[in-house]
Assembly symmetry: C2
Homo-oligomer: 366 residues x 2
């Protein structure tokens, strides 16, 4: 049985990459050492890291004004590190509340001393199934924080709000390298690796260097200036996740880069959204205008039926379709490495399920 | 050519473990998913994590009073997290300065607001080649911090200082699971994984739960109470490093546990120390009473000769013997997975080198 893994992360990796890791696991580049055993001060590591960084810069078209950091701790660690580093002029931060992860980022920022945290717009009224439309900043902020894609709620900023003069910070964990972000529009972008890139344990930060206060003296692991100075090698970096990410970057370049990934992701998500829009049993929960490219929550509206669907889908090799505990129902996450065949298999399974549950639906659809 | 990797970390892993990772990399427990692709909310992960945690508890004889956390960021991240969590009563922390890593921990603690940081003893006078002897705490501290093994300087607390009434915090990155620490004597122990355990990107914290302030409200990734509540699954954990560490724990149990590892580490280090003590060319730099079990710096006293030794040793398959930039000379790090045969190969190479450089030394030794 072919298994399709719809997990929101850790998620599917390109099978070619997994095979390559396997093939060279006991001896990295003829060193007779596993990549897990090589020193982070060795030339072997330095070359691997510099290539990964350069490939990422190329793939995302990161401008020269921005530096790239390979860190640990997940996007959640950045909920603390970003305000510590960027909110030092006005000490004011604006958040757009678009669901669970932006709320977590807001809560963590509020726990820092001496920062003013304003929520300037919220999707609360519509249960976070749509993004807030009127996003205005009434004051000067050190930055405005946006969760660009909301993994749990399945929404996504398809267009950035107009906020002239404000610095934008974006959490792009769910669609980094799967959607063409204009890095130049942001002061800082961050993303964990376990969705669109590779194994969990790696976090990427892309920051416009002139936003940083060179005089600020933060504890070393929380200080972008110190981390940049040591080129993400201030202490031992997560060598294996960086290695795997580097292989994924090379795979992405071979596939045609981010533009090609976005096209493929659109094909996969369009197929599923179309099925959802045409179904009498299932419906997508996110508002059409704000739909995510990579995370698609849906439901029958009947809890027991949702559970039955998840169970039967799992038996058919369609795994990890259970929705997040906060919203229930189902969720299909389809990142870069997820194949079109998996989206097709899900759609076909949904059609079969719908016909079984309500044969009349199928008839009426004729 | 057999290659022996004397790296201070990332370091050698048991070859059986590397082989097992390779064998099951494309399908973890018949799931048809790589371990890199499984969700941290799946039963597969939960079982793997709980086993790793239980095995670690057994191996280290962690008492019930202490909780175990699997985190990210390296020991360096704990330089900030420990004081944030433990220094809230007196807000005073005592440090024993035993070299580079304790100094880094001191510097990071001093950057936190509202903490008083006292250095109560220092090995500065003897260039950190010996540990300070008179360690006294004149005040009540929230804790006294000790770098139990100094990876760079090659010193180690073979006996803990008598500090009645004070809580001890120990950095055991270099000899966790390689030396029998009495966990009960500590309020908190922490260690990065890339020396004695597995791939970089995993940090272990063992903390006496009643030392924590349940009311303290720190940013989530820095708050032990929140991390304990979610059993190290507050955000996506570093699944692959945890998986590899879990396999190493099982390997350690099969080998006879920590007592057996300590015996083997003593055999390896004794062999090298004996060679150093009997050599007319090489000498160990650390004071005899404070010598590390796992990190052995040594030198000929001649920079050019040291460099020649490192170059020729590398050519002979004895890799990563170059000393840390701060102290120069050579350093042999031999952790749990490092074989006795490697220590023997080094000693034999040193003897040959010594004879080549100074044939008279060999004669006079007769």
């Amino acid at each position: 049985m072919v298994v399709y893994n719809f997990s929101a992360g850790p998620a599917m990796m390109p099978s070619e990459v997994v095979e390559q890791i396997k093939a060279e696991l006991t001896s990295y580049k003829a060193s007779q050492m596993s990549v897990m055993e090589i020193s982070h001060r060795s030339d072997l590591y330095a070359q691997m890291f510099q290539e990964a960084k350069a490939d990422l810069r190329e793939l995302l078209a990161v401008p020269k004004t921005h530096r790239i950091l390979f860190l640990q701790g997940g996007a959640s660690m950045q909920f603390t590190t970003v305000p510590l580093n960027l909110a030092y002029k006005t000490k004011r931060i604006a958040f757009v509340d678009t669901g669970h992860w932006s709320q977590t980022a807001i809560a963590d920022a509020k726990l820092l001393p001496d920062k003013e945290v304003d929520v300037i717009a919220s999707g609360h009224e519509n249960g976070y199934t749509a993004l807030p439309t009127k996003i205005k900043a009434q004051k000067d902020y050190d930055y405005v924080h946006l969760t660009i894609n909301n993994t749990i709620e399945g929404t996504m900023f398809q267009k950035l709000p107009e906020l002239a003069g404000q610095t934008l910070v974006g959490d792009i964990s769910s669609n980094i390298l799967g959607y063409q972000h204009n890095v130049d529009k942001y002061g800082l972008l961050y993303a964990s690796a376990q969705k669109n890139i590779g194994p969990a344990g790696l976090t990427l930060v892309i920051v416009k260097e002139d936003l940083l206060d060179q005089e600020q003296d933060l504890p070393s692991m929380l200080d972008y200036v110190k981390l940049i100075k040591e080129d993400s090698n201030l202490n031992t970096p997560p060598v294996f996740p960086i290695y795997a990410a580097g292989l994924v970057f090379k795979w992405l370049k071979k596939q045609g880069g981010v533009a090609q990934m976005q096209r493929q992701n659109e094909e996969k998500s369009n197929l599923l959204y179309e099925q959802l829009d045409n179904s009498k049993l299932f419906k997508a929960t996110a508002a059409k205008a704000d739909r995510s490219l990579t995370n698609i929550p849906f439901t029958t509206g009947d809890k027991a039926l949702d559970e039955r669907f998840v169970t039967e889908a799992t038996q058919a090799g369609l795994c990890n379709l259970k929705g997040h505990a906060l919203v229930g129902g189902m969720r299909a996450s389809m990142y870069n490495a997820f194949p079109y065949a998996g989206a097709k298999a899900l759609v076909e399974f949904m059609q079969k399920f719908e016909q079984q549950v309500h044969p009349s639906f199928a008839v009426s659809a004729l």
